[in-house]
């Protein structure tokens, strides 16, 4: 169940301009973004996007501004109509829905969290949180219990009767998340949800999201321009550049095997020791023969292991998952994994 495909995006194109169909032909023949803009006066939004979004996982779509990530997420609930391609939710083509069905989908299948919170300024926190249920026709007394429950869950107990402008940015976004949770939809779309928050609060919110996700197992599509955030949250990472997918896959894998100079430039700036986890670089075996300096979890990051080893590169640790040994990690491999990667360097570290 866990690895079923929830949303499947196939050959999705988006071109902005007066005659996108004509421009689409040029794009399919291989015209690039700059030429399309100069010669055809159309803006290429997305080109041939193929992404499978897994049920119950966090898929992070990362890219710089202008890479089309916000455009992409708005295609999932058709706030933007694609030029060509298909989007399937549970196997059903979203693009074939009529207005009423689409409204139903937005109400019951997908909820959204916005970068600028987009709360209703004239409604209380409680009414904002219950907005999705209110739209479906219930009034405050009906949704109060549900809304209060989720507001409490995101840490806003006692703020129910305040107005959004009385809250800080972080708290407003908590309302935004509560609003999405109250709608009880299986899919949550988060459009740069934490980008407007300051770093400490952002980190808090990321922890909150992971904590909620542990429990709720929603299908989350998260947009960000911040690689650290992407690596922290993602089960599946999609990197966009100029409207095209440059690389997608397991984030640890992308970190160790970047296939594009663009990604290399990105990952050179991050703290590899904090992001890489033991499971990505350990040797997988169950032979309990050698001398081990100690047990580490496969989910530990390399920074933790480094501090435990005290800088001694001769040590070998035993890697365990739920008490059982799953492999070993040699400190030399760890050091090697910390060397900045070039494009598609052969990877010897993975067991």
């Amino acid at each position: 169940m866990a690895n079923d495909i929830k949303i499947s995006i196939k050959n999705l194109y988006k071109i902005f301009g007066p005659t996108p169909d004509v421009a689409l032909e040029y794009v399919k023949r291989g015209m690039n973004k700059a030429d399309l803009q100069d010669k055809q006066n159309h803006v290429l939004g997305l080109r041939d996007i193929n992404v499978d979004i897994l049920d119950g996982k966090i898929t992070v779509i990362m890219g710089l501004s202008g890479s089309g990530k916000s455009t992409l997420i708005r295609h999932l609930n058709r706030l933007i109509e694609p030029t060509a391609g298909e989007i399937r939710l549970d196997g059903k083509n979203v693009l074939e829905l009529n207005e009423e069905q689409l409204r139903q989908l937005r109400r019951e299948q997908m909820s959204m969290v916005f970068q600028k919170f987009a709360l209703l300024p004239h409604k209380t926190v409680l009414e904002n949180a219950g907005m999705a249920l209110n739209i479906r026709g219930s009034d405050v007394t009906d949704f109060e219990q549900e809304a209060v429950k989720w507001l409490g869950r995101v840490g806003l107990e006692g703020n129910e009767q305040q107005y959004p402008h009385q809250l800080s940015g972080g708290m407003q976004q908590r309302v935004g998340i509560a609003r999405a949770l109250v709608s009880n939809s299986p899919v949550m779309l988060m459009d740069e949800a934490f980008s407007a928050l300051d770093p400490l609060i952002r980190s808090d919110m990321q922890d909150l999201l992971l904590e909620l996700q542990e429990e709720l197992q929603k299908t989350i599509v998260f947009i960000t321009h911040d690689l650290d955030e992407a690596l922290k949250l993602s089960d599946h990472l999609v990197i966009l550049k100029d409207g095209e997918v440059v690389q997608q896959g397991d984030p640890q894998d992308i970190l160790l095997n970047p296939n594009d100079p663009y990604i290399v430039a990105f990952i050179n700036d991050i703290n590899r020791a904090r992001v890489l986890r033991v499971r990505s670089i350990m040797k997988k075996h169950v032979d309990n023969d050698a001398e081990y300096a100690g047990d580490i979890s496969e989910r530990d990051n390399l920074e933790t292991v480094l501090s435990r080893s005290g800088g001694d590169t001769d040590k070998v640790f035993r890697v365990v998952r739920k008490g059982e040994m799953v492999g070993s990690l040699c400190m030399k491999d760890l050091t090697r994994a910390l060397v900045p990667t070039g494009v598609s360097t052969p990877n010897n570290h993975k067991g």
Binding site: N77, L79, R103, M112, L119, H122, M131, A132, I135, P164
Partner: protein, 344 residues
């Protein structure tokens, strides 16, 4: 022999011109010219006349004079007038009832009920005791100098007209905000209503309705005062935060829900600013409308002008200023209250 004779003969229209020759009524200018006996051609280029309708008529009698134009307009209007009032009369009759009813109500209910009710309304919309006190003092002052009745008439007319302006203007503004075509069509009309001197549309109204009917000045006031509320409703809805609208869409609101739950509440500060302007413009117009029998302080101003009663004119002018300040302060205070509950 007039200046443009040669032109008509060159065009071969001499015969056509001759057909029009008849001894119609002479214009004043003709009479004067005849009396002076000055029928000569211009002496130099300096006096060369512009080929206006009257000058061309001098050369060619079949050519219409400019007074034919105004006369034609007048006759055209008179011709459609009966049919027009057949449609407009019943449509606007409720306005007469509303105005007469409001005037009757304001004047028959004793002052010791009206004044407290008004103060209660002021408190309800502004929640400010200071303002209530100010309004109480102002109205008592007007009542003390025996202008209570006139002031209440003016207020009654303003309430009815401003209410109708909002009732009609807000939906028009909403329609404009939803369709660019509607906006393109409506803006020239609004521009015209706003720039046309108010006296000008009093004239056709006098022809259409009888001066004894109160809807005559009602319509004049509404036409003049409706513009700001329409404009600001349109603007307010168009200025609603795009992100909030997107959120409303993303959560599956119907267009109707979006309008009533998001757009109108968020546009309310702008709509209220429009209502404030509308009320102030009704007040301006209610004074002018006294020319066409609107009762109230305007009548006294008019008396001041006509009979050169300086004192009456000044005191009633002051009364209008007081009413204006009251209406402005009260609507602005309620606007500020709405703003305070909405700032992000």
């Amino acid at each position: 022999m007039a200046t443009y004779d040669s032109l008509f003969s060159a065009l071969g229209l001499k015969e056509w011109c001759a057909e029009g020759k008849q001894d119609g009524p002479m214009s004043m200018a003709d009479l004067l010219a005849k009396a002076k006996g000055d029928n000569a051609e211009p002496e130099s280029l300096w006096d060369f006349p512009f080929p206006s309708m009257d000058v061309l008529n001098d050369s060619c009698a079949a050519f219409p004079q400019s007074r034919e134009l105004t006369k034609g307009l007048e006759q055209g209007f008179l011709a459609v007038k009966d049919n027009l009032s057949l449609v407009l009369d019943p449509m606007t009759q409720p306005l007469s009832w509303a105005l007469d009813g409001a005037l009757y109500g304001m004047l028959t209910v004793p002052w010791w009920i009206i004044i407290p009710i008004m103060l209660a309304i002021v408190f309800l919309v502004t929640r400010s005791w200071k303002l209530v006190l100010f309004v109480a003092v102002s109205i008592c002052l007007l009542a003390f100098v025996d202008y209570y009745e006139y002031a209440m008439q003016t207020l009654a007319i303003i309430f009815v007209c401003a209410f109708l302006c909002v009732l009609l203007g807000v939906p028009i503004g909403i329609a404009m905000s939803r369709s660019d075509t509607m906006q393109r069509l409506t803006i020239p009309i609004l521009d015209m209503l706003q720039t046309l001197p108010p006296f000008v549309y009093l004239i056709p109204l006098i022809f259409l309705f009888s001066v004894t009917e109160s809807k005559l000045y009602g319509i004049a006031i509404i036409l003049y005062a409706i513009v700001p509320v329409v404009r600001l409703t349109n603007l307010g809805i168009r200025l609603v935060d795009k992100d909030v609208i997107e959120a409303a869409d993303a959560f599956g609101m119907t267009p109707r829900q979006k309008l009533f739950k998001v757009q109108i509440p968020l546009a309310l500060p702008n709509i209220m600013a429009g209502v404030n302007q509308t009320i102030m413009m009704s007040l301006a117009m209610v004074v002018i409308a006294s020319l066409v029998s609107a009762p109230g302080l305007g009548v006294l101003v008019l008396r001041g002008i006509r009979n050169l009663e300086l004192g009456v004119g000044l005191v009633s002018g002051l009364g209008i200023v007081i009413l204006a300040v009251i209406l402005d302060r009260v609507t602005k205070a309620s606007l500020a209250r709405i703003n305070a509950s909405q700032n992000q």
